[in-house]
């Protein structure tokens, strides 16, 4: 379990995170949602250890991150998989080399074993003919799938995704959502996704944390989000006519 307590982070005079507390559980896909500038990416980067919070704690399975030694932090990070918003694939490597990279860095596997594992995960994300392509030759959806393959190749315990659907068409976005959900169930890992895609919220939001202006404004599941009367949440989630209708239909069906 990842447990966050009173997390605060500022950049100069800008107070970005204002005492956020929440938990993320094993085997669940958790979504952190909120408007642009609400502090989602900073929150995720604090979880990853890329930013050091001013106060508050982040515990991974009971171990407080800030109290770990450098070696312990490095070992913990080796158990994290991250899918960046822009995929962050290494330009100078082919798709197969990108996926193999964590194995080369952290395991003592032979080349054949690594190739087998790369083939397995690329097949798992439905990419079988892209091994020798460079990232620049791959479409946005392919790049996201490669990033997911790279994130899971070393059997992570924690999977983090920063807006995995940004820039993708609705159908590809759904494929990516389902893939992340399946991987979370299959490997029984903790998955935290930053998103402002409402389709993702409705599809895979087993737990949803809503941030507004650096504060946790609401927390619940995709079922709760239909019923909530929290105006801040409903104004954000049901800002489009389509979702207003979806909510109305859901409430009518359940009455």
């Amino acid at each position: 379990m990842i447990e966050v307590k009173n997390l605060e982070k500022s950049f100069g005079d800008a107070h970005i995170l204002k005492g956020i507390s929440t938990t993320f559980e094993k085997g669940k896909t958790s979504l952190v949602i909120g408007q642009s500038g609400s502090g989602k990416t900073v929150f995720l980067k604090c979880l990853l250890g890329l930013f050091t919070p001013e106060s508050g704690t982040i515990s991974y399975d009971g171990k407080i991150y800030s109290k770990l030694s450098d070696d312990e932090k490095r070992n913990l990070r080796a158990k994290m998989g991250m899918v960046f918003q822009g995929s962050a694939l290494f330009d100078s490597m082919t798709i197969a080399e990108n996926v193999m990279f964590p194995l080369r860095m952290f395991t003592k596997q032979t080349k054949d074993e690594m190739e087998d594992r790369v083939n397995f995960v690329l097949k798992r994300v439905n990419l079988t003919d892209a091994h020798h392509k460079m990232p620049s030759e791959a479409s946005g959806g392919m790049q996201k799938r490669v990033a997911i393959a790279r994130a899971i190749v070393n059997n992570p315990k924690y999977l983090f995704c920063d807006e995995p659907n940004s820039g993708l068409d609705p159908k590809t976005a759904m494929v990516i959502d389902n893939l992340i959900q399946e991987i979370t169930d299959e490997y029984n890992i903790i998955t935290v996704i930053n998103s402002h895609d409402m389709n993702s919220v409705m599809e895979i939001g087993e737990k949803i944390v809503f941030l507004k202006d650096g504060l946790k404004a609401w927390e619940g599941s995709k079922e709760n989000i239909f019923k909530t009367d929290n105006k801040v949440v409903t104004d954000f989630v049901y800002s489009s006519e389509l979702f207003k209708k979806v909510r109305k239909m859901y409430i009518e069906e359940n009455e």
Partner: protein
């Protein structure tokens, strides 16, 4: 105050570069790739510039010797001294600050902008060791580039001297061999090693710590070139004062 902060960050970067080494099997590949990019990839332009600048030094020296009492072999002597002491180690390093330095800053800066450095850090990899250390090791072969620059500078001078009719081949070779002081070669290579260190670390600093987007990558490359050149010129003066005076 910001300058002091930047200088402190630069030295911390150098210390961090040697910590948490990357697995040797991966590092070996990175070093070989950087040798190819930074050293082998620079040989063409260095050879071209050295040959022709050596020729120009010879022509200008010959044209400025109007006194018939000054022996003709002095053209070869002056060319050798200019090329070995200053042109090859310093002038070529300034050119390399533009070529290699911009390449290092823009490649690392682009990795920063596209979150590739974040990806390395999330994996628990020491990004400075992974990115900067191989460049530092690759540039330890920089004296090899400068040796070629010295050789081709003198050869270029010889070609210009003989084919331009400024003196005979024998006079030029006599001049090149006159009053040769081996320590001048050592002095040139000491400077070269120091400049190689600057060429690896200053552009890496500007790339690694840049913030922003594509425009900032361009700005960082420019700043990197300016400051690498400034430091090369400054240390050239200090080392010359220390080693030759």
């Amino acid at each position: 105050m910001q300058y002091l902060h930047n200088i402190g960050t630069y030295f911390l970067m150098i210390a961090e570069m040697f910590r948490k080494p990357t697995k040797w099997s991966v590092m070996r590949t990175l070093i070989l790739k950087d040798i190819d990019d930074l050293i082998i990839g620079s040989l063409g332009i260095v050879a071209f510039i050295s040959f022709f600048v050596g020729g120009v030094v010879t022509i200008q020296t010959a044209l400025n010797i109007s006194n018939p009492l000054i022996p003709k072999y002095l053209v070869g002597f002056a060319t050798r001294q200019s090329v070995i002491l200053e042109f090859a180690p310093t002038f070529i390093s300034i050119i390399m600050a533009g070529k290699v330095g911009s390449f290092i800053t823009s490649s690392i800066g682009t990795m920063r902008v596209t979150e590739q450095i974040d990806a390395l850090e999330v994996m628990g990899i020491n990004a400075l060791n992974y990115l900067v250390f191989p460049k530092f090791i690759a540039l330890m072969l920089y004296p090899f580039v400068i040796s070629i620059a010295m050789f081709l500078g003198v050869i270029g001078g010889m070609a210009a001297c003989v084919y331009g009719g400024f003196s005979t081949l024998e006079d030029y070779i006599t001049g090149v061999q006159t009053d040769f002081i081996p320590f001048h070669i050592a002095y040139a290579f000491i400077k070269t090693i120091v400049f190689a260190f600057l060429l690896a670390t200053i552009p890496s600093y500007y790339g690694f710590y840049m913030r922003g987007g594509a425009l900032e990558v361009g700005k960082a490359s420019t700043s990197s070139f300016v400051w690498t050149s400034v430091m090369i010129i400054l240390l050239n003066y200090i080392l010359t004062q220390m080693l030759l005076s």
